[in-house]
Amino acid sequence: MLILTCPYCGVAAEETELAPGGEAHLKRVGPDGDDQQFEAYMFDRKNEKGVHFERWRHAYGCGKWFLAARDTNTLQVYGTYRAQTPHPTDDIVAAIRKVSPDWNPDWTRAE
């Protein structure tokens, strides 16, 4: 059972206080998108074994959605940050690189 710190209220919350929301930094495809773009937005998920950015809601706390950067394999948490952040912050990237120097950001989905 994970512990994630809500970046809004500062509570280090047990997983049972949180509701998961799947992969973070998806870019919405609206009525103008073609079938391929929409399919990618709706269904293509990275399912990483390793560094993963994901959405959580502090459902039984302050109610805010936030984002977490975490390693799905080692369970290390690189940090949590506000949901209104277009892509992971520099300190998150630095924290990931400290463990995996070869890791490269992939913001293609967030741009």
Partner: protein
């Protein structure tokens, strides 16, 4: 006169109190043990070595171990609601009056018919199930499945409710030390010295682990450590507490036995600890491995450590003449202890070429023969060991001698208990010198900060000489996976690896020959390690055999995954207080007590209870529902609609947000008006519906379905916070702030006018789909002119605290109008008569509004809304999608909800093709005939056509496709 059981030694037994005899019953026989005994020691003291039958071959079995790893000595314990199957005799403390029953045998443990499987064992090789129960296919239902079901599972499930109380508790610590042996106690002292908050968990009732048994002076060292720790404020010691699983970020689950099998203490039986800790120290010790020699499962063949445990701890002799067989020095302790207790030790059989450690020299000095490069070719005896046949370990099993004995104490070396370490990602490395897997200190499980949060110490870390100064020097263990080394098939087919599930060396080798190279596949194919003991004594031996068969080193094979729990946890402990009324919270509306007092028959809706109907004397539910419907249609009725979700959406951009959330336009709704709205998921599917009212220029009130309030509020917040976070909108879920009452029927207006107030309820002032605010009957209220019944209808929202008052005033004022409270079922039938859809009936997560004829509620003007892009996909626009129609039964019988309409032809599985299904189906008292709604391929284009619905009984019901609005199609009633 003091009774002494036949196998109780005259002295010794550090855990028993000879002054207190404890009577118990085993398979109807009356036996006596002593205070401090386990079930296993008490049975052995009485000469009862036969304690069970193996699962597959029903072979007679005695205990092989003295602790949690025991695979054989399992009993059904207790009676009635307190009966529990598969209780380990080696870890269950004997209590007065205990009732034990043997398992997996019929008619009795001694004469078990199932033992015929033993003679048929050549017919049941590894993978027997997969090979046998394949063909012919029709045999499955009537032959194979009943046989498998009857023989599946070990032990019986209890049939009565468990009368005992269980509880859960939370704890927080800097360090949790798992293991009460010398390594754990020392680690706890070290952490406590540094000022950390320490919790020490010990699985048994006594501290010290193996040290007091294995080392002279061990008990004194342990006692001093325990006394020191117990004095400290920052240390909590918990005995009888088994840490069963370690999960993410230092979350540890442990089961504490408080009053196990002793209901008279008046305290909870067990407690589940949920512990959050910064660090875990696993001091979980090691488990001794059996040796694989022929007939190593005959009762009387035991682990060497268990033999000395029974002698030292309980003063019990497992037998009178003991043979020790080993590949290491540790087992020599058993020879010495048995000898010192006055038992005869026939010999120590050592597979190693030489044995001249201090322990071996001490054994020789006691005139016990030590036979090196020797092994056991075969154990003689059926239900009890009679002797052993000796051979060269390096040979093929040729007899070089025999020894008479009644106990064989075997030791194949030790395996660290690495379960907790491994549960959460800790990796192992293969220690060639000691022939064991141990924790890899470079690869511990990680905490949230990326630092290791588990440390293994003592034997659990592979340090088998953890008792420090108390230890004597030992020589290395020699890996012996098969005894003798070149044993022929005949012997290998009698060498047990997994005692409980009857998996032998030959089975694992067969699996390897048949291509099972992965240890995980071999486990499932042979069932090795899949019994209630989860292979604690068998796994390492099994994967060593597999590695040899695959000609690869053991680390290349690896271990199977270690999964919690380490030992079984009863479901009652996991549930604890969450049972009965406390299972989940019950939500009640302000009028709940009134409904109860008026005989409501309840329907659970989410966590709510809603009245399904209000049966009167002599009425069943159907009759009550029909009466309620006719009362509403003819005069007036009231429905408690308080459970409907009520969400306020407010702010300068509120209209913009609602235009995205709903398929239709909400921003253009004038203040004072209501609009029915549909909400879809981003994937296009209909997820909720309800009436939206515009309260003011910047405020809307969104009604949701009863079950949907929290989910829809979460959905709104998700989009608001994560996608359109720069829009200025607030949402608030006010569901419980208001009581809401639907007043429906032709007399609804007349009734409300009787209550008095300042709201003009006339058709002109308050037409359909408008709302007004004021007071009614002296209560501040908002009145919505909306209708789910198809009648003239007002929904009145008042502050929750005044809901009951309004409800009672309505019933008081409407007595002469035959005012009738109606429940959810009357509501459902009336909405179906009107052809209104119900979320969850007509929708199932694959239905778009267009399927339900709700295209009118989808804005064509809007650029975008959630679900719009998804609904433009080609398969969403296909005319052949199943679409909503009404159904008329051709013979006045109700076509059941969920019935499938068949089509011509069959699919690839030989089943009839389908072209539709019934989504709602009721008897309509208004029309006095059955009505139904259905989703049918090309439905709206097929009015008047007939469909066939075959029933499981074989008969076929028929229905005609009609318009889904059965009642008041022009809407004159609700507009009245």
């Amino acid at each position: 006169m003091t009774y002494t059981a036949p196998f109780r030694l005259p002295q010794g037994g550090r855990l028993i109190d000879r002054a207190f005899q404890i009577p118990f019953r085993f398979d109807g026989r009356h036996l006596r043990g002593l205070e401090g005994d386990t079930l296993a020691s008490a049975m052995l003291a009485n000469g009862q070595m036969l304690m069970g039958r193996s699962f597959k071959y029903h072979r007679p079995r005695g205990p092989i171990a003295s602790g949690a790893e025991e695979p054989n000595a399992l009993f059904g314990l207790g009676q009635g609601g307190r009966f529990e199957p598969n209780q380990r005799a080696t870890t269950t403390t004997l209590l007065p009056g205990m009732v034990l029953g043997s398992q997996n045998c019929w008619p009795s443990l001694d004469a078990d018919i199932g033992a015929v499987n033993n003679w048929l064992s050549p017919m049941f090789p590894a993978g027997f199930y997969y090979k046998t129960f394949m063909h012919p296919r029709p045999f499955w239902k009537h032959v194979f499945e009943p046989i498998i079901r009857r023989s599946a599972g070990l032990g019986r499930a209890p049939t009565d409710p468990d009368p005992d109380r269980y509880e859960q508790a939370y704890a927080f610590a800097d360090v949790v030390v798992v293991g009460g042996g010398i390594a754990g106690l020392q680690a706890a002292k070290q952490a406590a010295d540094q000022g950390q908050r320490v919790i020490v968990l010990g699985q048994s009732p006594i501290w010290g682990g193996r040290t007091p048994v294995d080392h002279k002076g061990g008990a004194a060292v342990v006692n001093a450590l325990v006394a020191d720790l117990e004095r400290r404020e920052n240390v909590t010691m918990r005995r009888n507490t088994m840490a069963t699983g370690l999960y993410d970020h230092g979350y540890l689950i442990a089961r504490e036995a408080l009053a196990d099998h002793d209901p008279n203490q008046g305290i909870p039986r067990q407690r589940l600890w949920r512990i959050r800790t910064q660090q875990v120290v696993t001091a979980t010790g090691a488990l001794e491995r059996p040796l694989a020699f022929a007939c190593n499962d005959v009762p009387g063949v035991m682990l060497a450590s268990a033999v000395r445990d029974f002698i030292v701890n309980y003063g019990v002799a497992p037998g009178k003449r003991i043979v020790v067989v080993t590949n290491n020095d540790d087992a020599y302790r058993t020879a010495l202890i048995a000898h010192d207790s006055g038992l005869e030790v026939a010999a120590v059989i050592d597979a190693r070429p030489t044995a001249d450690s201090e322990l071996a020299q001490a054994v020789r000095a006691a005139n016990i023969p030590v036979l090196t490069d020797t092994g056991i070719a075969k154990v003689k005896g059926g239900r009890h060991v009679d002797g052993v046949v000796l051979c060269r370990q390096q040979g093929d099993g040729q007899q070089i001698g025999t020894l008479d004995c009644d106990v064989v104490a075997m030791s194949g070396g030790w395996s660290p208990v690495v379960h907790l370490w491994s549960h959460c990602g800790g990796k192992l490395l293969w220690d060639e010198a000691e022939a064991m897997f141990r924790p890899n200190p470079e690869r511990p499980p990680l905490g949230a900060d990326g630092q290791g949060n588990v440390t293994a110490v003592g034997a659990a870390n592979g340090d088998l000489r953890a008792a420090g100064d108390l230890e004597r020097r030992e020589l290395p263990t020699m890996p012996v996976w098969v005894m003798p080394q070149n044993a022929p098939y005949k012997l290998r087919a009698k060498m047990w690896l997994d005692f409980q599930n009857d998996v032998k060396v030959s089975d694992v080798q067969l699996a390897a020959r048949e291509g099972y190279a992965s240890v995980e596949h071999t486990k499932r194919y042979t069932t090795l390690g899949m019994a209630t003991d989860q292979g604690k004594v068998s796994n390492i031996n099994g994967l060593a055999i597999l590695s040899n068969a695959l000609s690869q080193p053991i680390p290349a094979t690896g271990t199977t995954t270690f999964r919690p729990p380490y030992t079984p946890v009863t479901l009652a402990t996991i549930a604890a207080d969450a049972r009965g009324d406390a299972f989940q919270p019950l939500r009640k509306t302000p009028m709940h007590a009134w409904h109860e007092a008026h005989g409501a028959s309840w329907e659970p809706v989410g966590h709510w209870r809603r009245p399904y109907c209000y049966p009167q004397a002599g009425e069943d539910r159907d009759k009550a529902v029909n009466r309620e419907i006719l009362a509403v249609r003819r005069s007036v009725g009231t429905l408690d609609a308080s459970t409907l979700g009520k969400i306020i959406v407010k702010g300068p951009d509120a209209g913009k947000l609602l235009d995205m959330l709903y398929t239709n336009m909400m921003s253009t709704l004038p203040v004072g008006k209501c609009r029915y709205g549909l909400m879809c998921s981003e994937n296009g599917f209909l997820m909720d519906d309800g009436v939206v009212a515009r309260l003011s220029d910047d405020t809307w009130l969104c009604h949701t379905t009863t079950g949907g309030a929290d989910r829809i509020h979460g959905h709104m917040e998700d989009w608001l916070q994560c996608e359109w976070w720069d829009w200025q909108v607030y949402t608030a879920n006010l569901t419980e702030q208001y009581a809401q009452i639907a007043v429906a029927g032709p007399k609804a207006r007349e009734l409300l006018q009787r209550l008095g107030g300042d709201i003009d309820l006339s058709q002109e002032a308050l037409p359909f789909m408008t709302w007004a605010e004021g007071q009614i009957g002296g209560i501040p209220a908002r009145i919505y002119r909306i209708s789910f019944s198809g009648e003239l209808s007002y929904e009145i929202a008042v502050p929750a605290g005044r809901g009951l008052e309004l409800w009672e005033k309505l019933h008081e004022a409407g007595r002469d109008l035959n005012i009738t409270p109606y429940g959810t079922e009357a509501m459902h039938v009336m909405r179906a008569e009107k052809g209104f859809i119900m979320i969850g009936d007509e929708t199932d997560g694959t239905i778009i509004p267009q399927d339900l004829g709700l295209g009118w509620a989808i804005s064509k003007k809007k650029q975008d809304y959630i679900g719009k892009r998804a609904q433009s996909r080609s398969f969403m626009k296909q005319r052949s999608r199943w679409q909503l129609v009404g159904l008329e039964s051709l013979d006045k019988r109700i076509i059941p909800d969920g019935a499938l309409a068949v089509d011509e032809g069959t699919n690839a599985n030989g089943q009839r093709k389908t072209q539709g299904r019934v989504t709602s189906s009721y008897y309509s008292p208004t029309l006095d005939r059955p009505i139904a709604m259905a989703l049918v391929r090309h439905g709206p284009d097929r009015m008047g056509q007939e469909l066939e619905f075959p029933m499981p009984s074989g008969e076929v019901l028929k229905g005609r496709i009609v318009d889904p609005v059965f009642y008041d199609k022009e809407g004159s009633r609700l507009n009245g």
